[in-house]
């Protein structure tokens, strides 16, 4: 169903955290202050690669107003961090491997003093040769960035036999994708408070409070329970704040000084030190038979993971798994390589490696269709995975009709009707609203199959808690974080659905390790699914206890009672006055010293077989776009975008729509403008004046989102998350549309207007101007 305010009126609710946001009242963790707080700043490396011969902090320490200067020797525990395995130094002491590497941190009375103190720290470096090209990083004689060499990870996925002998057409192409920056509006920071009782409170944005707590405990040599991590609200993350950033420095400085430490990265520091989307070079060779059946698909992925591992292995695993898209191909040979360089660190980013390979595989389909003289959408249909087919790694997966549903649904859209009038690859403009003779329009489309959850082999634990508070509120506690995606709204809607209660009856607690159970990371589009599954498990015992107590209170059989607004109602009288209110039940429970609560722990569902990284649940999407290409400037403008998403029941329509529209906007930047360019391993773009994310003017005028909610009867997995899927398929849809508009194939993102202008046939261009 088309997703909008009218069609989903019943569930279209104002997000509970909205009012505080529109009024500016909400305090983000970087807005917090504390009496007597000091300001923390970090000294980053001058070189992308160098030996550190000495670090002299004497002068900085002597500066009045400087309260602490910490270096590697002040790290009491493990001087390493990393979400998957601890690999990145908190503070470097012998070597720097990228310009974001930290050498020292300072706490001072003012931010200016702290910055000045950094300039007084004398570091003697011995610069080393820079490894800035992932292509040559593995060559003989190239300096090793880590003892184990410059190879982080290799993947391999093979099925059938690799031979192109029987192919009628083969397309071989190399695709390049950019180093995209998360560009969350709130840069990293927070407030770090040493408490009187010896504990440390960390108010800092993260996607996984418990993981931060564990890592900080290791770094600080403290017990985990001695640390409290408060992790919401967050001004955007998109994967970028899942890894530790300023937390180790803030924590070290707080413990050293005994004072609260405030940190807030400048945009430039955020660019230099923050993780990015892995740039990938993807070579694909794909063959089809005369009829268009895909026969063989060879893929070579080269990912630049930068100086440290973070989630480089996992991202490459995901890219490898998704390199065949939603298709069945009998002969597959995928190899992935992720290498260390002195470039900025690449890590987790919305879509998790899928965006890069989907751009490549969908582009292959377009090229093959043209060789076959076939409509590319029909070619997709011909090769589309069918219900019952195994997953991309040959693994058992939860079956849905998603692939064919999104394929069919797209054909019903108005945009599709427009596209259908065009000959594939003709370069001929559709009947156009544009009057300028130098503009051309084209329509293109793409498909996505996207795994949810972390995949096999990675601990994917979750849990949640329900309790009736002494005030008579149903309190739901989860270890997830709110970074904009709308967890509060989603959970409110789910709780109302499960208990039939009113908004007033609900209290939600998230993002505070002292108050919530461990639920795993708020990542991989998993939070909504995990909350939903937790409530499925929590509801029976919780409601049972409530109804038992209510039954005793009111002298009515529990079977005749149900939860509702304000309290327990007689079944059939949900609109009436509660038989007993939640507040009365809370009182009774307290009197009996029997708190009403339920707790659950479980794992994200994984495939019972298959290789590491293989997923079990998938969602599907189809996306079509109409573009306008200015043939004089080479600029591409996306006019209209249609998304069809099959991800199960829509829990929170406003959030669902927002995630798809927002993901699409982010993909627009990935396709057209965003690239954190590096030269000799130094960032050339440090702020939003040169790193260009889409603005209002760049946004398509029409974005339609259609949700396919049906799941097979008996599917117990419920709603799948949609945090990522809206960001995956747009790039190949745009480049297909550009092909139709101009006849130009694009294989490098972000697409370059210069390349487009230079690719235009001069005579044709003259004609266009006439």
């Amino acid at each position: 169903m088309l997703l909008n305010r009218e069609t989903y009126a019943k569930k279209w609710i104002i997000r509970p955290d909205g009012e505080e946001k529109v009024t500016g009242k909400l305090r983000y963790l970087t807005d917090l202050t504390a009496p007597g707080m000091l300001y923390g700043k970090v000294l980053r490396s001058r070189y992308p690669h160098a030996w550190i011969l000495s670090i002299d902090t004497t002068k900085a320490r002597q500066l009045p107003g400087v309260r602490a200067v910490v270096t590697a020797k002040d790290v009491p525990g493990m001087n390493l961090f990393g979400i998957a395995f601890p690999h990145q130094p908190v503070l470097c002491h012998d070597r720097v491997r990228y310009i974001g590497d930290a050498l020292a941190a300072v706490a001072a009375d003012t931010e200016e003093l702290a910055e000045y103190a950094l300039s007084l720290i004398e570091v003697v470096y011995e610069p080393l040769p820079v490894v800035d090209d992932p292509e040559t990083a593995l060559d003989e004689g190239v300096m090793k960035l880590h003892p184990e060499g410059n190879l982080l990870h290799r993947t391999s996925l093979q099925q059938g036999e690799m031979s192109f002998a029987g192919c009628a057409h083969i397309v071989e192409e190399t695709y390049h994708t950019p180093r995209q920056m998360h560009t969350y509006m709130e840069t990293e920071g927070g407030l770090f408070i040493p408490e009187a009782d010896g504990r440390l409170t960390v108010y800092s944005p993260t996607q996984h409070g418990y993981k931060d707590r564990m890592q900080l405990a290791r770094i600080l040599a403290m017990a985990e329970e001695q640390i409290r991590v408060i992790s919401s609200p967050i001004g955007g993350s998109f994967g970028g704040k899942d890894e530790l950033n300023v937390q180790p420095f803030g924590a070290l400085l707080a413990l050293q000084t005994g004072s609260p430490i405030k940190m807030h990265n400048s945009r430039k520091e955020s660019v230099i030190a923050g993780i990015k989307r892995h740039p990938m070079r993807i070579r694909m060779k794909t063959g089809v038979d005369e009829a268009g059946h895909m026969v063989a698909h060879q893929v070579r992925i080269l990912a630049d993971t930068g100086a440290y591992a973070t989630l480089g292995c996992e991202v490459l695993n995901f890219a490898t798994e998704h390199a065949i898209g939603p298709y069945t191909i009998p002969n597959i040979d995928v190899e992935g390589t992720s290498v260390y360089t002195n470039n900025g660190v690449s890590g987790e980013f919305r879509g998790f490696g899928g965006n890069q390979v989907i751009f490549a595989v969908e582009s292959q389909i377009e090229r093959l269709a043209e060789k076959l003289g076939m409509d590319a959408w029909e070619l997709r249909k011909l090769n589309l995975r069918a219900p019952g087919d195994p997953g991309p790694m040959g693994q058992k997966i939860v079956q849905t009709e998603g692939a064919s549903q999104v394929w069919s649904k797209m054909m019903e859209s108005a945009l599709w009707a427009k596209r259908a009038k065009l000959q594939p690859g003709s370069g001929q403009s559709p009947p156009s609203e544009s009057q300028d003779p130098w503009t051309r329009r084209g329509i293109g489309a793409a498909m996505v199959m996207h795994g949810a959850g972390l995949g096999l082999g990675i601990p994917d634990h979750s849990g949640g808690r329900l309790e009736l508070t002494p005030e008579g509120k149903i309190q739901a506690s989860f270890g997830f974080e709110e970074f904009g995606q709308g967890l509060y709204a989603a959970l409110t809607l789910m709780l109302q659905d499960v208990f039939g209660c009113a908004t007033d009856d609900i209290v939600i607690v998230i993002g505070d390790t002292d108050r919530v159970p461990s639920s795993g990371s708020s990542t991989a589009s998993r939070a909504t699914t995990m909350m939903w599954r937790a409530l499925q498990r929590l509801r029976p015992p919780f409601v049972h206890t409530l109804l038992q107590l209510a039954s005793e209170w009111a002298g009515i059989a529990a079977a005749e009672l149900a939860t509702g607004a304000g309290g327990i109602h007689r079944i059939g009288d949900e609109a009436g006055t509660p038989v007993v209110t939640y507040a009365q039940l809370a009182e009774a429970a307290e009197a009996a010293a029997k708190p009403i609560l339920a707790h659950t722990e479980f794992d994200y569902p994984t495939t019972p077989e298959g290789l590491v990284g293989a997923h079990y649940l998938y969602s599907y999407a189809a996306v079509a776009v109409e573009v306008e290409v200015n043939m004089l400037t080479g600029r591409v403008k996306v006019i209209q975008t249609d998304h069809v998403i099959a991800a199960g029941p829509v829990i929170n329509p406003m959030g669902f729509l927002g995630q798809i529209e927002g993901g699409s906007g982010m993909a627009l930047g990935f396709t057209l403008t965003e690239d954190a360019v590096m030269k000799e391993s130094a960032y050339l773009r440090h702020n939003l004046d040169t790193y260009l994310v889409p603005t209002f003017k760049d946004s398509p005028h029409i974005i339609r989102v259609e949700a396919i909610e049906e799941l097979p009867v008996g599917d117990t997995f419920g709603p799948r998350g949609v945090g990522e899927i809206g960001s995956v398929g747009l790039a190949p849809a745009i480049t297909a549309a550009v092909r139709q508009a101009t006849g130009i194939w694009v294989s490098r993102l972000p697409l370059s207007p210069e390349d487009i202008v230079q690719s235009i046939d001069w005579l044709e261009r003259v004609e266009a101007i006439d």
């Binding site: 202050t33 709130e186 004046d689």
Partner: protein
């Protein structure tokens, strides 16, 4: 020692204030650090993102580019001064109802710009609305929710295809 302290006298959210600050201190820092009006956000620090947007004598300006002395004798309105008492401004209400925000970090600046547009041009074309809003970057919404809010709060945006 020469006393170089400058006292900024201006009106902030309708209240006359006198703040001893360096004359070149950024208004965004004054608001956040000295006055604890943290609704104004700092994101890019160079006037490109609009998160720190305030009204200066009714016109939207990036407060990260506004020096203390430039505000002398003038009226600054921050997000905290947009809603009238307990009631939300129609722009704020529309943003809520249409899903014009997600993480919310750009939202205050967005609302400030939108209220200025609402005052100045109550019936903009799509192009005019884009023009007015293109100094505010949002990384979450893809802008559609914000455009819906623009339409909802009384502006008759002409869709231009």
């Amino acid at each position: 020692m020469i006393n170089t302290t400058y006292v900024l006298k201006c009106a902030i959210n309708g209240k006359a204030v006198a703040i001893p600050v360096p004359a070149s201190k950024r208004m965004s820092d004054i608001l956040r650090d000295d006055l604890l009006l943290t609704g104004t956000k700092v994101s890019c620090e160079i006037g490109r993102c609009g998160a720190c947007m305030v009204l200066l004598d009714g016109k939207p300006v990036n407060s990260c580019l506004l020096m203390a002395y430039q505000a002398a004798g003038r009226e600054v309105t921050t997000i905290e001064g947009i809603s009238a008492g307990e009631d939300l401004h129609p722009v704020q209400q529309a943003m809520l109802e249409e899903g014009g925000l997600q993480c919310g970090y750009c939202t205050a600046g967005m609302v400030v710009t939108l209220t200025a547009l609402w005052e100045i041009n109550p019936a903009p074309t799509r192009a005019e609305a884009e023009q007015a809003l293109c100094g505010n970057i949002c990384r979450c919404t893809g802008y559609e929710g914000i455009f819906r809010a623009v339409e909802r709060c009384g502006l008759s945006i002409k869709r231009e295809g």
